[in-house]
């Protein structure tokens, strides 16, 4: 192929991601002119129509931002309200919250690892083909995913998508002991299955790409942070949620309906999600999780984004262990929820959605209505860094035929398990070479 010929590579819609986005790559000779990861998911204006709603409705409404990680939205909104009203929930409620979040992680990670991402490493279009090649593996994957959903259903009030049971101050109904204990045998199985998952995906071959990322994740003293903590980075940042907007911002760029997040300092891109969590909270992983990671060659630092699939597998193990421990020690709380002293104020919430931090800030009026709402979903925050990864991937693979390059780019995007619905959704992948 001549270096000066026009090459246009076009993929209209990126698959195996949630939502709809596009990629546009312009190459002139060996020079990359432009890389745009665009999100054409039609805007749905959540922040605008939350205004005037009651604080109590916000968790259910924000859940609808994303069907893949509704807990991230419900929990973030709930914590923000509790923060505004000065509520601290008792330990058993906190444990249940972590448990349901573990459910979302198991479900989402199992879905992504096996059904969305693994086929890339195996050169298959989808998990259906994978099932043809290795049906027992896919059956196991589905069972693992189901265990995540079962947790969501038991704690969330009967459904995994947009669960109905979480509220400001606790839960509408706390599950009975026998309902929670019924999850134990499956979780015991899930730990074995996640160990096996680490083995399987750890054995994939990973395209070379090392990046010097700025990682941002939640950090909690006593646990692998999921639903609570301070925000830290590998560059020394350590802030409370209320300082988030002092350090981070987002901008509206033409090629995307999602706002692009950046760090104010140096207007720099940053990375959130599994790799960030792993690198920043390695010490909080369970011994078993660290050993399993080590067995497939993962140390305390991982900077190849393609290895995120292995990190996700390690995280599945971690949350299965956490979930099992919570189920084993579960005692029915005396009250499902506490009083909610509504008052005017500002509240912040931030949790680790499976794909990264999800930040909420609300201003509440004295009658409990929302005055302003601001939500920064993980995928919006990762957009810039995705583009930066893509830049490198394209540069390193210019010799690949269009089809292969396109696929490699898609795979690089899928490293982020981007949830475009959240970020606003339609991924069009266009690679233009002139």
């Amino acid at each position: 192929m001549s270096a000066t010929a026009n090459r246009i590579i076009k993929v209209d819609a990126l698959a195996r991601v949630e939502g709809e986005g596009s990629l546009y790559v312009k190459v002139k000779g060996d020079e990359i002119k432009e890389v745009k990861f665009g999100i054409f998911e039609p805007p749905r204006f959540f922040e605008a129509f939350l205004v005037g709603r009651s604080y109590a409705e916000v968790p259910d409404i924000t859940a609808r931002i994303c069907g893949i990680c509704p807990i991230a939205y419900e929990m973030g909104a709930i914590q923000a309200m509790e923060n505004a009203f000065g509520i601290t929930v008792p330990q058993p409620i906190r444990a249940l919250r972590r448990l349901i979040y573990c459910g979302e992680w198991i479900e989402s990670h199992a879905l992504h690892v096996y059904m969305l991402h693994a086929p890339d490493f195996l050169g298959l279009p989808d998990a259906i083909q994978l099932a043809k090649a290795n049906r027992p593996l896919v059956e196991k994957a589905l069972r693992l995913k189901k265990i995540g959903n079962d947790i969501l259903e038991v704690i969330g009030g009967g459904r995994a998508i947009h669960p109905v049971n979480m509220r400001v101050g606790g839960f509408y109904r706390t599950p009975r002991k026998k309902e929670v204990q019924a999850l134990i045998p499956d979780l015991e199985w899930a730990i074995e299955a996640s160990l096996e998952t680490i083995q399987v995906v750890g054995g994939f071959s990973f395209p070379a790409l090392e990046q010097d990322y700025t990682f941002v994740a939640l950090r909690h003293e006593n646990e692998y942070a999921i639903h609570e903590g301070r925000l830290i980075s590998n560059r020394g940042m350590n802030i409370g949620l209320e300082q988030f907007l002092d350090h981070f911002d987002e901008e509206h760029v033409k090629h995307s309906n999602a706002l692009h997040g950046f760090m104010k300092e140096g207007k720099a891109p940053y990375k959130t999600g599994p790799l960030a969590r792993y690198n920043l909270n390695y010490d909080k992983l369970s011994e078993r999780a660290r050993q399993a990671a080590k067995a497939v060659g993962l140390g305390a630092k991982v900077t190849n984004p393609f290895k995120s699939i292995v990190v996700r597998a390690v995280e599945i193990l971690q949350v299965c262990e956490d979930a099992l421990a919570i189920c084993r020690s579960y005692q029915e709380p005396s009250e499902p929820y506490g009083a909610v002293p509504v008052k005017a104020g500002v509240g912040y919430g931030c949790t680790e959605a499976p794909r990264g931090i999800c930040f909420h800030r609300y201003e509440i009026e004295a009658d409990g209505s929302v005055k302003t709402a601001r939500i920064m979903p993980p995928t919006a925050q990762n957009q810039k860094i995705i583009e930066s990864d893509l830049w490198k991937v394209v540069a390193a693979n210019l010799n690949l035929p269009d089809e292969d390059l396109k696929w490699r780019c898609e795979q690089a995007i899928r490293n982020y398990d981007p949830c475009i619905s959240c970020a606003t959704h339609f991924l069009k992948l266009t690679i233009e070479r002139d």
């Binding site: 698959a15 959540f46 609808r64 059904m115 009030g157 109905v164 509408y172």
Partner: protein, 260 residues
Amino acid sequence: MARTRPRLGVFKFSSCDGCQLSLLDCELELLAVTEAVEIAYFLEATRKDMKGPFDITLVEGSVTTPHEAELIHKVRKSTGTLITIGACATSGGIQALKNFKDVKDFIDKVYAHPEYIETLATATPIADHVTVDFELRGCPINKHQLLEVINATLNGRKPVVPKHSECIECKSRGTVCVMVAKGEACLGPVTQAGCGGLCPASHRGCFGCFGPMETPNTAALSERLKALGSAPRDIHRLFQTFNANAPAFRQQAESLEDRV
């Protein structure tokens, strides 16, 4: 009885992805579904991008942009049975809240460069644009109902998706009525069954994910909610959430507007 495998397409419009995820959430049945139908287009699950025509198409999401308004006609032309899934596709969904507001104002609130945003003033259900063969309600849909609709379509029977009230489902599972026993505001009596009666079983009132039931007497319910102490504003909010644009709910909310 060997049948030819029908081709299934799954399309997304403005939505949260939750309804199509419901298909992947059918963990125990998923492989059987992929054996019974050929998944020919389903972006969330496969890179395979097969062109139509499709025998069965599932459409998630509502029409909110000029592009979507065009696309839905192409989808209709390329499919046999068109099934819409979810509140977005069947009534406009949560984003139809913008129908009641000034969209420009919304865009200004959320985006720094409103000029980049291409959107229609309304979010509308698919059936407002093209003929729909079956509407499956819910925010999100119930995965068992989704399987039932696929199954019934394959087997040529009428899907068992009753249109009666949520109360019937609630009572059938033995849940204690939260409105009667706790005085909670509940949309169950005017909401279509389908979710399985989740909210009352979780000790809270139904908030209408499945939209209006077949003959919803929303006025009678509003009166009752008022008597139970709900402020008109709260009743208005209740009708104007996940199925705000469904006619019965929209009208009830409108009739409360002067008192909000």
